[in-house]
Each structure stands twice: as C-alpha cells, then as structure tokens.
Amino acid sequence: MGRLGARASAGVSVNHGIIRSARLFMLLAMSAFAVALLPATASASGNYSIVDIALYGSSGLGDCNYPLGRARINADGLVAGTWQDPTDYIDRAFVYDTTLTTLGYGTGGGINTNGVTTGYLYFDPDEGLTPPGAFRYSDETITNLGFPAPEAEYPFSAGKDINDSGTIAADASPTDYPPTHAFKWDGTWHDLGTLPDDTYSEARAINNSGTVVGWSGPNWAPAGHAFRYSGSSMASIPGIGGSWSEADDINDSGTVVGCAYTADGDQHAFVYDGTSTQDLTPSASNAQALAINSYGNVVGNTDGVAFVAIRGDLTDLNTQIDPSSGWVLTQAHDINDSGQIVGVGTHSGATRVFRLTPTKPIALALPTIAGTPEYGSSLTASTGHWGGPSLTYSYQWLRCSLAGTECSDVDGATTSTYTVGSGDLGASVRVRVTAESQYGSESAQSDTVQVAHALLAEFAPELRYDSQESYAADSAAEMTDNYVAGTYSNYLKDSDDSILASSDPAEPGPTLSLDHLGSYISNSTHVLDEHNDTYVDDANRLHALSAYGNKMYGRIVTDGPFVWLQYWFFYYYNPKTFFGAGAHEGDWEMIEIPIDGYGQPVAASYSQHEGGETCLWDSVEKNSDGRPVVYVAEGSHSNYFTAGTFDLWRDLDVVHDYANGEGPNVTPSVIDVTTAPAWITWPGTWGASGRSPSSLTDHEAWGHPLDWNVEAGGCRQSESFRVHSNSRTRDRSVTASAPPPTPVIRARINTARRVLINYAFNNYPSGARRPWTLLTTVVPSGRRYFPYTLRTRITNRRGTIVQKLGSGPGPYKLLVSALTKAGARSRIVSLSLK
C-alpha cells in the first residue's frame, strides 16, 4: 500500500471533479441540517436488534483495509458516519439518532459522549479544488477548524476522532501538501510528528486521556508502524511479525486495537495492553480490529464477516441477528459501553450502515467481588456491566476449591452480599450474576477470591537478622539476573557444564531470567551457577535495588485440617561452613503457619537446615503488628523463635547457629505465588554447590506442609508447647561451647574508601579454641541497605584486612568476631568507623 493508500485514507483523493460539478449539493451541505429521509428499519429477533441507518458512503479502504467512511457510536447510541446518495455518488457526513442529519459533503469521523462530532467537509465547493477541512459539529453548529498551515500550497485537515473534552485527533498537512502528519486540535493545532526515520503519520483515534493512536511510516514505502502518542512523545507499538501495523482505536485504559501483518503476509487483528501485543485472529487471512470499548470488548471484521470479541472470544455477528433479516454484516466499526455496535453490511444488494442494540443480556464486564476475603467479613458483588434493555439481576454465591476449578452453590446465598463463614476457609468463593430481560436471561461469574489470601499479608513475618548477616531474603531473580556488563554473568548450565542461558543479554544465547526458567524445556540436571563466585558483592549490590531487595514468596495451601500460610525466603548464598564444608550458592528457607477453621493461626514451623521446629502460636514471639518474629541465623539462614546460639547436631555441641537478632529487622514484601508461576516449578538446582537447594516444589514442605510440620522438631522454648510427635526430639537448649578469643581491633576508612582492619589476639584464655576465620561486618546507615560481611581465613595472631564499605551510605559501624574451624563464634567487637 504505502503512500498512495495513505493519501487515500486521509480522504484527500476524493474526486474533485465531481465536487466541482455539484454546487447545488454543496449549498445543501452548507446548510448543514438537511435531513435525509432514508428509511431506518429495525429487526428485533436474535440477540441484537438491527437498525438500517443509511446507504454506506466511501466504500474505499485505506491501508490495512481501513474503512474510510468508518462509523462511530457514542455512549447514547448516537452515530456519526458517512453515507452516499446513489444518484450522485458523493460522500456526506451524517449524524444519526432516530433520524439522519446530513452535515455536508465530506466524511464523518468521531463522536464523543456529548454528541460533538468531527470529520472533514468541503466548506467552499464553489472553489472546486479547495481542499477539505476538519470540522466540529455541536449544538447544530458546524465550526471550520481551518488548517495548521494555511500558507501551504495544498493545505488540508481531516478530523478523525474526538474525546469527551473536545480534543480532536486529526490528519493535516503540516507545511506543504506532502507529507501528512497526525495532529491534535484543542483550539490550536499540535503536530504529533512521526516515529524516528518516518516522514508520514496518520491519527486514528483519541481517548479521554488525550492519547492518540495511528500509524507512522516512510513516504511511499510499503511499511507502517502503529504508534501511541501520549504526553509529548510518540512510541511504537509492537507488531506481530510483519511489515505493517496500524492502531485504530484506544480505550481509556490505554488498550489499543488495530491490524497488523504477520510474517506470512496475512493481516490479523491485534490487541496491545501496554506491554505485549496479542494476535486476536491467529487463523485469519484478512482481519482487523477497529474499536474497543471501556470494558475491553473489541469489534472488527475477519475474512469478510463482522465480529465482536468479548473477553477474547470472537463471535460472528451474523449469528447474533435474526437470520431472516436479510442482512450480511461485513464490518463492525465501533462499539459503545452499552454493547451497541455500528458497522456496515449488505442488505437488498446494497452496502448500508447498521446499528445493533443488544436485546438478550450480554455480559460486557464480569461481576466483581469487593471486600476483604477473610473469616467473618462481608463481601459485596457488583453486577458487572451488561448490555441489553430493562435488566433485572439475581445472585448466587459459590464455594470453590482453592484453585477455583471445582465450585458448588452455597445454599441460601442469593443476595448481593455474602458473609465469609468457616466453611470458606481454605477455599475460594465467586458469585454468579444472572441478568434477565424480556428477551431472555444470561449468567456470568466473577473471578474467584481466595478467602485465606488476606491472611498472607496479615501474618507476613518480621525477620530479625544477626548483626553480622550479609545476605537478606531477596528476590530469587538475583540468581538469574546478576551480571556486570562485559565482566561476568550468572549462567544456567546443563549437567555437562554447557551454558544454556546467561544473565548478560550481550552474551550469545537466551537471556536468563525467572521468566526464562519457566519457559524453556528444562530438566532436573540443570543448574544455576554464580559463575564469578563474588557472592557478597553481588548480593549487596542487588539487594540495594528495590526490584530485588527484601522480598519473600507467600502461598496458601490446604493440607489436612488446616490452611497453611507458607513464606519462602531466597538467599543468594549460604556461607555457613563446618570444617570447610556446607557453604552453597542459593538458599531457600521457609516458615509455615497452619490456620484453623476460624481463621486463627494454630502454630508456626520454622525451617532449620534439613528439618525445622514447631511452636504453638501462643508461644511465638510477635511484633507490635501481631506478626511472627523470626530470628535468622548468620550464614545458614536457619530460622529460630528466639535469639541465641543453637546446637545443630545431636547434642554433640560441635556445630552452632548464631542468631542474635541485632541486625536489620525487616518484613519483606510478599509476592503471592499461590498459583505457582512457571519459574517456581523449574526442576533444576538453585546453585552450583553440593548443597544448593533443588526446585522448591521438591521441598517436602511445598507439597506436604502437614507432614513436614509433623517431622519438624518440637518447640525448644518449653517442652509443654510441643504439639507434634518428633522422633528426633532432643534437648536443643542454648549451648556454650568454647569460643575463640575475642580479637582486639583497630580500624579506619582510607582514602580509597576501603576499611583497613588491624586485628590481634593478644590473649588466649584457658579453653579458648583457635580462631580460624574473622567475620568483619560493615553496617551502613539507612534501612534500605544491608550489612557487608567479609569472611577472612586467618593464620596469624595479628594482621590486617582490607574490606569494602558495601552499598549503603555512612556513617558506618564495624562489627568483628572470630570463628573456630567448627564455626563457634567469639564475642562481637563493635566500633564506629571514621
């Protein structure tokens, strides 16, 4: 198509000779209010009644087969369009309510809620070649909007659409005859320009936010790109693989529809929701979407028939009208929020403009549920939005499985409100609304709401880290997204160490991300690899980014008599070692809370290494918000109910966890993964170390919360709180194994922003064990940043360590302790850094 088609779609290629010889008709047009006494007949059988408005004018097609005489309909059913008198074949702009009002020679464009119309007219037909100009028709008055560049050799303008504040999307000549640009008119003309490297653009529609859509392309070249213009910039809308796309309408939510070529050269209708473009007619060879209403219902045509798409389901409009009406509906041009549709079809051998009005109820927007879905609260159903006359509504509430797949009616729940009962806990509810008119009835169901969902936020735990902790519960995307451009990257690897994807988009092959984990063909031998082993630097850097820092993954699952709230924590690295073993990339930890039939927590279970610990809810420490408090052990990230030092292994007093709770206290934001996004079920291993965790769904607690809870150890705070049998019950009271001596520390920040730490072990108290590792932690100011801990193997009684400051700002505090080879920790030395 290209430029010739483009010029035609601007409407300027109308035969000027015809116009010159039709002065009599022009005078008629200038009077503006002649009523064409064309028959408007209606048929009321089927799901829609149909009104015959007029003989269709301007049967020409623009690029993407855009109908140049497109009709539009506003919220009140008022129609603006183009009709043609068969005696002279000249197009006329019209407005139609119950009678047809001809505005003059030209073409109708848009119409807004107030009935204000735009388009273009030949205002001075006596001059013959005088080009058309955009108009605004309101209160029976036509206003000539003139031209943005009247001094141009061939000035022209054409209104295309108008929003409720009266702003018009138009095409016009900016300086000289070619090229055409998209414009906005709000009392003055605003040139919207083109996309980069293009010279030509056309507007198609404007929404109430003032966003204009259309297409932009190079002069004379058969290529165009759909655009969206908002604010002060024009942005391209992704196509569906072919050389052409154009946007034909946009609703107030910013959803765009149009048509685009596929790579195969077919023309398809598309919907663009602001992030991705969906092919609405994947099996069509020639289709386009021309309009979208506020509820996302789309109309257009596909392979010669008019369609309406409600929630993505395409329906041939010919199946929705009285089959004896004699109509064949070929194009649907517009749809309003009442479900009325205008378009063109053939009737009695002529192409005519029609208006469809729903008779049988049609659910244009599904019912919704308002209210907090928790025990004892009241939920309120909206009817949704329906098309059809004189509707009455009835309600039926349904109780469903948590996933919403199996539902049954709740006896007696037939009003618009519903009180959540104990039977709903661990389930989800939805409402079915039935609308009824004299022509029939139709039902629509809301989406489900999970009753326990609100509990996830209510009982999200507060994590109290150890003062020397360096890794926080963060987004699992840290493992897939970490790279430093041109330096290093994280990898997804196969069992033979071959690279399947990398975090750095500049590297060859797929780019690693959580979405990628959920989308490629994976298996359990695949491994995520922190290839550069710069764990603390990477974790510290990523944690400071809001997209990664302080996240946890919440889910609701039903098992046995309880609904379980589970919170999963991902840590980038676990540096905890015992005689050099045990550190690993990636670390998933979790807690879970069983909820009883009254929506109340019963207990809490915290993960600790390969097992866990369960305490009754009454004995769980809560913060001032009523959230459970979790003391996170340094390095291992095991979760404890109290602060302290904990023996890990069979009372042998050789392996310890330290959780003093004196580091950051954080309640990470909850990402709800109840519906298990695809990456959650990725079967590989979250790190390339021997003890890196495997897929979350392979963790016993994921699929069997009750079993895991039973196997977890009893509450160590008091034997009386032990609620589950535990074959491995043991006294896990705080232990006091011999620690290493406390180092003497001097430290300062040098000019290179590094911390110089001088340590010395001047005395070895009796029974003290040999220090093996020094933990040096720089604690920044500000809650957003996390401490930076370095673990340094030491061999001498005195020495110097150079450490980074980490991501956060000063003033800084330095914490230093020593560890034995078995992991026993000395007293922590604290000093301010200058």
């Binding site: 015992f578 073993a581 690993h584 291992s636 392996v655 021997g690 897929s695």
Partner: protein, 144 residues
C-alpha cells in the same frame, strides 16, 4: 641394635604409613563432616540422588566408613611399627585391607550420587595415592 639398612627401611615405612594415615584422616574428616551436615539445605523429596534424602542410610554409612577408614589407617601404622612380628604383619595387612575396603565403599557412595559425582575422580586419585603409600610402607618394612 638394628642394621643400618633395616633401620632406614623401618623409618621409611613408618613415615609412609603415617602419610597414609594423614591422607586417610582427610578422607575421614570429609566423611564425618558430610555425615554430620547431611543434605542440609539441599534436601528434597525428588528421587534419584541419596544426597538429597535426609533419611538416606548413606549418611550413616559415610560416618561409619570414615571411622573404619581412620581406624584402619591407625592399625596400619601400628602394624608397620611392629615390623617383624606376626602381630605386626597381621595388623599391617588388616589395616591395608581395611583402608582398601573403606575407600572402595567411599568410592561407591560418592559415585552413586549425581551431586557428588564431580568428586569421583578426585577421590579415586586420592585413594590410589593412599593405598599406594600404604602398600609401599608394607613392602618397605624390615622382615627380620
């Protein structure tokens, strides 16, 4: 008083036996540490790798084999130190066989776990050195 050659052989054989003991100590420490830690955060319910099963008998086996390995290495040193006596010969050969048995079990445990598979070659290499050293110690011991 021993002849000079026998004394040298005895010193060399005891030194080699102690070296074998040191190597065995490393392997034993690895086994004990891993037996203590278990699968830790790598535990899962997927099948196919005992190293992900917190209840796998192999964890107990690892501890037991570590102890056997260490004990056998000590027995070897004692047997070499008692060179010339029947008891010494029995102890030395028992220690050697015990180490061979323990290392073979170790190799089977490690090679049957995909998570530990990368260690298989290193363990095989270390086993050959330990057994080679122990065998050399036995061959060098004086036969008076």
């Amino acid at each position: 008083m021993l002849p000079f050659v026998d004394a040298s052989r005895r010193l060399a054989s005891v030194t080699l036996a102690v070296c074998a003991l040191a190597g065995s100590g490393l392997v034993s420490l690895y086994g004990l540490v891993n037996g203590v830690l278990g699968c830790d955060d790598g535990c899962s319910i997927r099948t196919g790798d005992w190293a992900e099963n917190k209840n796998a008998w192999q964890w107990h086996a690892a501890v037991a084999v570590s102890m056997i390995q260490l004990l056998a290495a000590i027995v070897l040193v004692v047997g070499i130190a008692k060179a010339g006596s029947t008891t010494g010969r029995i102890l030395a050969f028992s220690g050697f066989l015990g180490q061979g048995f323990a290392l073979a079990i170790w190799w089977l445990l490690v090679s049957s776990s995909p998570r530990h598979e990368p260690l298989t070659e290193r363990l095989a290499f270390l086993s050959l050195i330990i057994l080679g050293t122990a065998a050399t110690a036995i061959l060098l011991r004086p036969r008076y």
